[in-house]
Amino acid sequence: MTRLIVVATALVLVALPFMADNYVLRLATTMLMYSALALGWNFIGGFAGYPSFATAAFFGLGAYAGGVLQTRGVPMPAAWLLAGAIVALFAAALGRAILHLRGHYFAIATLVAAEVLREVTNSATDLTGGGMGLNLPVLSADVTTQARLFYFAMLVVAAAALATTALVAESRLGFGLRCIQQNEDAAIMLGINTRRYKVVAFTLSAVFPGVCGGIYASWVNYIDPTDVYDVLLSVKPIVMVLLGGAGTVLGGVYGAFLFLLMEELVWRNLLQFHAGLLGIIVVCLVLFLPHGLRGIGLPSLLSRWRQRTREATP
């Protein structure tokens, strides 16, 4: 049964760009981007249970890495992938440095990482154009073709993130990360190399947002530090995963779809108080989440999902 649903969704996703107008296409591309960000975050936040607010840092670094490469003549697909690689290296180094921290300390370290990167990008004017931002080479294709190109690019990244999530969920890495999330002290006693597993999860949580950043830079053609390092890029994916169901494979995707739909409706009519409304949405989601996530916390979602899939698949 689930296999039928997967095939149907894939068909719709592939056919969409040829049917939808540019507004719906832009919305769909944004949803795919945030799905990739949410799925990325889930590796460290959902699986390992580490409260990471680093997605904005990875996204921003990917945007600038991709952007700078393109201004140096590197073709788009290569620039995107290189951006992903650069961000992965950065995440592995940062992970090794801060993953001994837990709880609030780790959260603050990741929050501040984005701030430091934004400041560094701001002051490296010759490389990044600093505060005035960076213009990327304009594409020669017409508007619709461009819209479809970026839609498919984001679709590929989101699909890759989803596939990796499914793979990790059933692997030793996934099992080890879940042990770390449940009780890290007991996990290391069972022989799990918790340091290496956490760094791998942190790097996975970086590479997808990094590539998305690169694609975003090409898509919007002009980026500046406050835009691509915006802390909302760290918070929105978290709220989406909480909304869709943390620690589950598809949680982030459902969450991204529902959240952006809600934000689009809100945006339509209350432009100037948009961010304030967003605050109210976040507060309500956290306080009154349908899954009653607050009390139980992330893990029980995991085991309930496991029960469901075990019953579903023969």
Binding site: H104, I238, G276, G279, R294, L298
Partner: protein, 288 residues
């Protein structure tokens, strides 16, 4: 001589900084909640002082207790209505909640006060004092004195009073505190209220010395992060040490690298601290 002047500037600034961070450290240390609202609460205190001065002609320094009381009530209500419902939840939930609340408060302030900068201009400006060649603006000197007095007051309250002991007891073992007859929900609200009161008081002092606008809220929050981790969580003296250290570092970095780098330097310092000494200079278990 220049170095001494820069040191004095740093210490004076640091005194004020410790008042900015002590409320944040109390809420984090006792309630285990990262209060993303803290920067906005300080700015709210500044606006209260600004309007009190403009319309009621109350000197911001005299307005400090009023600002503290107003913010105490707001803080008490925020904790009771919102945050008490998620106490004990994972870090992710409490952090995201205070983030959402801040988005709301921050944008309400932008709506109400617009984004332009405002500053209290005292009609007889206090000018500055010259202590043996060292020039120090008097308003900052008074501000520092107030700040240190406030921090000392909080320290005394936590150590010496019944409510203070209850706050520390709740931090160390919530259930055991309940068994002693402590109403934990009320103590949480009082603690968050105290944190907000310190923010309000700092805001009132701040309004005299620096231009204020909702924009500066995030920078103040960032400073609170650095000071808490630098000084060490769970100790009021630690916050004092953290504040003075940051003030000194920032004034020297402004001298050598230029003022625009001070945030980058303080945040890089924060990352280095988190890597090598997350407990900070005076971190400890209880909360003095």
């Amino acid at each position: 001589m220049l170095y001494v002047q820069v040191l004095v500037n740093g210490l004076v600034l640091g005194g004020l900084y410790s008042c900015i961070a002590v409320g944040f450290s109390l809420v984090w240390g006792v309630l285990n909640v990262i209060n993303i609202l803290h920067g906005s609460l300080i700015i709210l205190g500044s606006y209260a002082a600004f309007f009190a001065y403009q319309y009621l002609h109350i000197d911001p320094f005299l307005f400090v207790p009023a600002a503290a009381f107003l913010l105490f009530c707001l803080g008490y209500a925020i904790q009771l209505v919102f945050i008490n419902r998620v106490m004990g939840s994972p870090v992710l939930i409490t952090l995201t909640l205070t983030f959402g609340l801040n988005l709301l408060l921050y944008n309400l302030m932008i709506l109400a006060f617009k984004a332009d900068f405002r500053k209290v201009i005292l009609s007889p400006p206090l000018g500055s004092a010259n202590l043996g060649g060292i020039v120090v603006p008097i308003d900052r000197l008074i501000g520092m004195a107030f700040a240190i007095a406030l921090v000392g007051l909080l320290y005394a309250l936590l150590r010496g009073t019944r409510i203070g002991r209850a706050i520390v007891a709740v931090r160390m073992d919530r259930e055991a505190a309940q068994l002693m007859g402590v109403n934990v929900g009320r103590i949480y609200a009082i603690t968050f209220g105290l944190g907000a009161a310190m923010a309000g008081a700092a805001g009132s002092l701040f309004s005299v010395m620096f231009p204020i606008s909702p924009e500066t809220a995030n920078a103040l929050l960032g400073k609170a992060f650095v000071i808490c981790i630098l000084g060490g969580l769970g100790s009021v003296p630690g916050v004092m040490v953290g504040g003075l250290t940051l003030g000194t570092i920032e004034s020297y970095s402004a001298l050598f690298f230029g003022p625009e780098y001070s945030v980058t330097i303080s945040f890089s310092l924060l990352i280095l601290l988190l890597m090598f000494r997350p407990t900070g200079i005076m971190g400890r278990r209880g909360f003095q």
